[in-house]
Assembly symmetry: C2
Homo-oligomer: 320 residues x 2
């Protein structure tokens, strides 16, 4: 039987820049060899002074490596850590109003520092996970994931192992660091006050003292190695117009003037404005360009239908 | 303090179609009111007779609602449950060689049946999660998620709640059902023999007896509501060529003949084959079509460069 325990102590004070997290963890938890300590990135960021005055929108450009998708108010970006997250992982909760918390600069390093500090102070060999909350491409809601890790097998590799029936488990790679972060979230919650959780019962995942392992960075797919590096609309615009796609706002349909300019730039075709049946654009396309204009319209939140006149496309904003 | 316990008993026999899962769970676990029982979809599927002779590739078309992305041997599809998964969630592990296990037909119903059966047999009010293993768009490895649930608050809604600083937690929606499934995986593992886990300590997430809640189906983003309904290449091809994109194989670059046919169909332009410097295609494009041809090439795993001749594009397969 495998038996796990997860607990999150109350009583953590508000953490300020420069605070001694190691001392706080040791005082609040009852760690044992082989435990995994999970610390929310929020409290690590606060101790590391990663608080900024302003809004998420103001902090976003500095945290963005590239925009992955935008729709309405939502910006999903790949940040400098390679994490694809809404608003780059910048958080405006559990911080003084008018301020935001940036992610730790190097969460794997933060985890290593905590692991080494705990070992120095207590002699204990515990693994450390720095957790943060992330949305998922195809599922509602968020789960906590490991954005930093030290001393932990972050993914169990079953390559070469076989199940009881003799089948190879080649592609099975449980991201246990993320599952540990998620389990810890069940205990820490979202209302603040419990930034630490201890997961006990998987000492087999904890590396020997002094060995830090690959860290949570190893769970990030390399840029270009995923199939979902851009939202569907963004991918189309990139393919048709190149790098400018990264700078285009997505959300409500583009204005008629914007789309008109994009079509001219990409295809050389001129459009005319129409007001009949709502705002629209008309464009006469040589047969070979029809698809390209339709694609550009689609990518800018418009839809294209044909008119009675041959070769003529009628474009109108899509319902949003 | 919040304290969770997770345990997964050994000793489960190989489950066969028609087996009594309720009796097995009651015999193997020591359930209490407010527990969450997590059952792997594998064992539910086996009890429900969802085993088929053949390979994953053979079973895939029947399980596919639509293809999301393909690359090489990998097919990521949205299945009839709305789950976006590699190979639609069809599994060839922990089953007799030459057979595959399909997901339960309606995992929320399976969870309800188990919950009701346990209540009828023991009088206990436990929530039930049916778990399966899923990859993520931007992260390596897999985690277990809830594909079925009964009697459980699957996502904690913080809308209207405020943190200790008075900030609204409007967009925070922890998908606790998925975190519970992940925590259970840490105890059940991947080698078979431990298909059940019990998570104790979050009785606040368990609904009153007789209330089953929204189920895990409520965690699936509606088709079209996500920004990543297609892989980047697939999105481009769909936009340019319409529905046929769903049927095109992605992976290694398309053959020159295939790409030639696509360009002709989409743009009306004829290409000529070239062998100079490796396999390639040459196409003379009117200025307005250059972007469209480049996009089609990109979407089919090719890259486009210009030649010395004005208006001429040289296409070649991308390094794969």
């Amino acid at each position: 039987m495998i038996r796990l325990g997860v607990y999150a102590p109350d009583g953590a004070p508000e953490v300020m820049p420069g605070d001694d997290l190691v001392g706080l963890v040791v005082a609040l938890t009852e760690l044992a060899d082989g435990d995994v300590l999970v610390v929310t990135s929020k409290v690590v960021s606060k101790a590391e002074g990663r608080i900024r005055r302003g809004t998420r929108d103001q902090a976003l450009p500095g945290e963005t490596a590239r925009v992955v998708a935008r729709r309405g108010e939502t910006s999903i970006v790949r940040n400098h850590l390679g994490l694809t997250m809404a608003a780059a992982g910048i958080d405006a909760s559990n911080v003084l109003p008018g301020h935001v918390v940036l992610l730790p600069e190097d969460p794997d390093r933060s985890a290593r520092d905590l692991r080494e500090g705990i070992h120095a102070q207590t002699g204990l060999n515990v693994a450390v996970v720095v957790s943060d909350t992330a949305g998922r491409a195809w599922r509602e809601g968020q789960t906590d994931i490991a954005i930093g890790a030290a001393g932990l097998v972050v993914a169990e590799d079953f390559a070469g192992r076989t199940d009881a029936h003799g089948n190879e488990l080649a592609v099975t790679l449980p991201a246990v660091a993320d599952e540990i972060a998620g389990a810890a979230e069940l205990a820490t919650g979202k209302l603040g006050g419990r930034p630490f959780a201890v997961v006990r019962g998987r000492a087999d995942l904890v590396l020997p003292a002094g060995e830090h392992g690959p860290g949570a960075a190893s769970l990030v797919r390399a840029d270009g190695a995923d199939l979902f590096g851009y939202g569907a609309r963004e991918a189309v615009v990139r393919a048709l117009t190149g790098a400018e796609a990264d700078r285009r706002p997505f959300g409500a349909p583009a204005s008629a003037d914007e789309l008109s300019a994009v079509i001219l730039r990409a295809t050389g075709l001129h459009t005319s404005h129409t007001r009949a049946g709502g705002e629209g654009l008309l464009v006469t396309t040589p047969r070979g360009l029809t698809r390209a204009v339709q694609a550009l319209a689609f990518a800018h939140g418009w839809v294209a239908g044909t008119t009675d006149a041959a070769m003529e496309l009628r474009l109108r904003p899509a319902a949003y």
